[in-house]
Symmetry: D2
Subunit: 160 residues, 4 copies
């Protein structure tokens, strides 16, 4: 298996389009969350989402449900693993790399809630700390208006 | 402050109706998840939800998004804290006890994904391991058809 | 591979002796903690340890360091995985089963501290929730005098 | 309560000496771990420790026990909370600030093990992400020779 250095990876437009289709459309619950991809790199990805009444966790306050934050982190962490695998296996055909998504799974996740999630637009980032042959380790962060750190997270994924 | 022994608590119908309204209606995102209360006791609560296309995490497979499981656990854990506080403060008026919900917050949560969430109906349970004056500790579980344990979780809540 | 039903497993005395040697002697830090095996079953193990001045986390109080609790949980969780693997592979020679310990690794662990760890003798238990071909999921608990639940934990292990 | 901006804080030598005494001597288990303070700032602290046969988790390999890593993280996270509280309450007498250590407690902690802990000298860092009036949130990291990231962690502490 030829490995490409992460820093020199340029994803093909077809890979990016496939990733976008899987993430923003085919994963139905990501549509409910309104997640949109902003940036994809081999060790880091970034998405955003916008406030919507359905996503509110606390009537009276207008803040996001903690589960929305956890869901966004889980989703974006999975995207980051895909981006890392996509870069690691640049020698594989695009379709085969995208199929790797089928074999991903979250082993576990932790979310730390630091501040209330109030605002119109939120950013979710995930960083791949390690991509092993069996397990990937990630850290996630959830940002509010004015670069306010609202929540952090950590996750382990099974890869193959 | 008079404290009632958890084992002798019988919640008033009005308290139960208020809890149901907050949990099933006012917390908007719980409606998206379709969470319904089945049982409320001072140290344990149980809810269920049904599969819906919006909640799917993996097109092709028909399995729930990991974020849905995390969201249900966060929601049901909050309900369990409310139930515990409601039992601890039986001497308070119902409205005041229900207002305690406003001051709850998830400090952090961990979810362990054991098995694929495939099925029509899922049960979510939360148990209060400790209700302190400042922090509540909980364990959650997510069950599929045939009493299959799909995921477990742990959370800490701030209470006041 | 022949699989033996966990409920019918009777470990050979040599397997138990090997497990005890690895756990109580060869894992040097377990000696510092003073961990002793009490019970080993295919899905659950139990150990105990006794208070020692070296293990104190808070001068003035006589309570265990949080790290001691975390260390005991990590150690006992590893023992539980070994017990589960030992039962799953009863058709393998004892030495080969014991060598599986070399390939175990903690992926991650969470510890929840519920109550102060004050006392003379503590019990640590670990339960295998799922033993997959690649990942094992565990829950741990740490008990003080009078069956007081002092801490709970969850961990994922890589197995092979 | 007068609050001092973290960036302008210069700890008194007596505060630093007290912190060192508590951390390196009075917390007995930190002596077993061999933890030494390298740097203390209001939002970040750094310590180091050196390999010792007692701390080995895997005979045959010479790697640290996972519990040692967890213990170091718990310890250094507590130090970081103390440093943050010490900076927040610069208007209080030194002795009073140091006594705040008595009222700290770890609510929970997660550790992610990324790579084997093999080497002679390790560095442990903790960062305070948020210091609230009741809860502090931290991230920790454990580094091996050559700035290799061996493990990461997250913790919540109760403060008062």
């Amino acid at each position: 298996m030829k490995k490409t250095s992460p820093s020199t990876v340029v994803y093909e437009p077809e890979f990016m389009a496939g990733l976008k289709l899987i993430f923003e459309e085919n994963i139905c619950f990501n549509r409910v969350l309104g997640l949109r991809i902003d940036r994809v790199a081999p060790t880091e990805v970034s998405c955003h989402m916008t406030m919507h009444p359905d996503l509110i966790g606390h009537y009276g306050h207008q803040r996001l449900h903690g589960g929305v934050i956890a869901s966004c982190m889980d989703g974006v962490a999975g995207l980051a693993v895909m981006a890392a695998l996509g870069a690691k296996h640049m020698d594989e055909p695009i379709a085969k790399r995208l199929q790797r998504f089928d074999r991903l799974g979250t082993i576990d996740m932790r979310v730390d809630y630091l501040r209330q999630a109030i605002g119109e637009r939120f950013e979710v980032r995930a960083q791949v700390l390690r991509l092993g042959s069996r397990v990937a380790n990630l850290q996630m962060s959830f940002w509010g208006p004015g670069e306010e750190l609202i929540a952090t997270g950590a996750a382990a994924f099974i890869v193959s």
